[in-house]
Amino acid sequence: MAEDFLQVERLCKRFGGLHAVRDVSFSVGRHEMVGLIGPNGAGKTTLVRLLLGILRADSGRVLFRGQNLLGKKPWEIVSQGLALTFQNARPFARLPVIANVMVSCLSPRASKRGEWVKKIESRAMDALEFAGIADMAREPASCLSQGDLKRLEVARAIACEPDLLILDEPFGGLSPTETGLMAKSLRRLHKGGRFGRLHSEGPAMIIIEHKLSELMKIVDRVIVINFGELLAVGTPEEIVANPQVIEAYIGKEVD
């Protein structure tokens, strides 16, 4: 099952002399929630940008339901059912919050899937409701706080009704309470169901995060990369105990 959902094979990307991503291979199952961790600069963000086609990969293959995603444009990839939230939230600052989400609702994928909802406003509103910022709907996005911006990113991504949701540091800049809430709503989204007029079949998720303690509670599997290379894959328990991972994060003990 894992083989025919998302499969990344020997993905490579260089920036000048720097190997940002080197020979990374992994796979994600249809109903999995996967954590992607690694020290700063390990190439996590680059990796997901390659998946979404924002950056062009040098070599390798990305198979999503058996179809190669490499070389496709970002919007084609999103139409296939991927979605991404940005690490440093990038709202359309001068547009109202709801308009930010409506842009996603206008995409071919979203409009095909929700044909029975005539008003994209109501779909956008439901996405905001889910993310918990419906009260800010008509304010310009430039007045949102950091936490609300993160929620806006999530609302924008789920408005596309993805099958695979990639979240780049969804807890970044959130307070411990907010982190807990966000983790909870991600779990809820992962289970699937109806959120107002939005329908979720429970997307698989890839979550990039530095707050490991929160992350480990919600994911099924963790992928660790360091210096652009795959370091380890395993359940949260295995990863926490893996000496290589500890070394990458904390450094080696000097004997």
């Binding site: 979404l52 970002p74 940005f86 990038r90 359309f92 001068r94 842009v103 995409s107 979203a110 596309c160």
Partner: protein
């Protein structure tokens, strides 16, 4: 039945236009322009208003491209000039009548829009601005290279008239202006324009939202090209002379002056800008030496103190946004006309 319809129209009119002072002013101005030929038959005045309505369409099409979609072009005259030349050539060389050459000119401008969208897909920001500046200059070079066909420096003259009488031409242009700007305003408030806005703010994010930005960018170039082209071919038939000045860099820069003076991202802002600045410049002909200088002085002083443009400034002065439902209200109102929120104490939205 008729009474009901009339009442409904009156109610809509009251709610949509009379409720907001800026819309009332615009409406009154439009009515005044329509009645103008009944009051006066000053040919000079009518001619200025008619020319201004052509330029108003041109300026509004610029706003569609630059204000709404953020594709800051410095070569908007490409559309205007190409349409004017196409209309003139078809009219003179093939004897086509105006009702065919005007759409043909607009079509040529749409093709020019396709051409201009090529660099826009490749380069961004200031790089695109300059690439767009290049296009009309290159086209002008081509026009000078084939003086036999294009008339070279002298241009083409003797294009057929739009209508038999002066008043006919006046109404034709004025009503075309209303129709075309209303169309543009409809486009600008549609769903599609939301994507244009979003592309202006952050193109990458729009792509990752699953939207084919290439398609929408080409679309906005073609739309803007169409309206600017309409203006260009109307201009050719109204002035009955088309010269290289329609492609001139000043033609591109002028539209930016009008647009920013009037206020961008509004459609009606640039129209207001044209109707203030163009007659001003014309009437300054009484002191020919100082004309451009006074004009420049007025623009500088206005923009120095209202950098957001004149229509936005007046809107902020006369209207207030309700903090709750974001509807606009006349500044005297204490509570919102839609949701009855108390707005007396809030500050104006800047």
């Amino acid at each position: 039945m008729f009474a009901y319809l009339a009442r409904k129209i009156w109610r809509d009119f009251q709610g949509e236009i009379l409720a907001l002072p800026t819309r009332t002013i615009l409406f009154a101005a439009a009515v005044a322009l329509l009645l103008l030929p009944l009051v006066t038959d000053d040919a000079y005045l009518l001619r200025i208003v008619a020319t201004a309505s052509i330029f108003a369409v041109y300026a509004a099409s610029w706003d569609l491209l630059v204000g709404f979609s953020g594709q800051t072009t410095l070569g908007h005259s490409l559309f205007f000039g190409i349409a004017a030349y196409t209309a003139a050539l078809l009219n003179l060389r093939f004897g086509l009548p105006a009702f065919l050459t005007i759409p043909a000119g607009a079509l040529a401008a749409v093709l020019a829009g396709l051409l201009l969208s090529l660099p826009a897909l490749r380069v961004r920001g200031p790089y695109f601005s300059l690439a767009s500046l290049a296009m009309p200059i290159i086209l002008m070079g081509l026009i000078f290279s084939f003086p036999g066909l294009t008339g070279g420096e002298m241009g083409l003259s003797g294009i057929s008239r739009l209508a038999g009488t002066r008043t006919g031409e006046y109404y034709f242009l004025l009503i075309s202006m209303f129709v075309l700007t209303l169309l543009m305003w409809k486009i600008a408030t549609s769903r599609t324009a939301l994507i244009f806005h979003a592309i202006r703010e952050d193109e990458i994010v729009v792509r990752v939202s699953g939207i084919n930005t290439t398609y929408y960018k080409i679309l906005v170039f073609c739309c803007s090209g169409f309206f600017a082209g309409m203006a260009g071919s109307l201009y050719a038939h109204f002035l009955r002379v088309v010269g290289p000045s329609t492609l001139d860099i000043m033609m591109s820069l002028q539209v930016i002056i009008w647009g920013i003076f009037g206020g961008v991202v509004t459609i009606y802002g640039p129209v207001v800008g044209v109707f203030i600045l163009y007659p001003l410049l014309e009437y300054l002909r009484i002191i020919p030496d100082w004309r451009m200088l006074i004009f420049a002085g007025i623009v500088v002083v206005t923009l120095r103190f209202m950098p957001e443009g004149i229509s936005n400034k007046f809107q902020d002065l006369l209207e207030r946004q309700c903090p709750r439902c974001k509807e606009r209200n006349i500044f005297m109102r204490k509570e919102c006309r839609i949701c009855c929120t108390d707005i007396g104490t809030c500050s104006r939205v800047g």
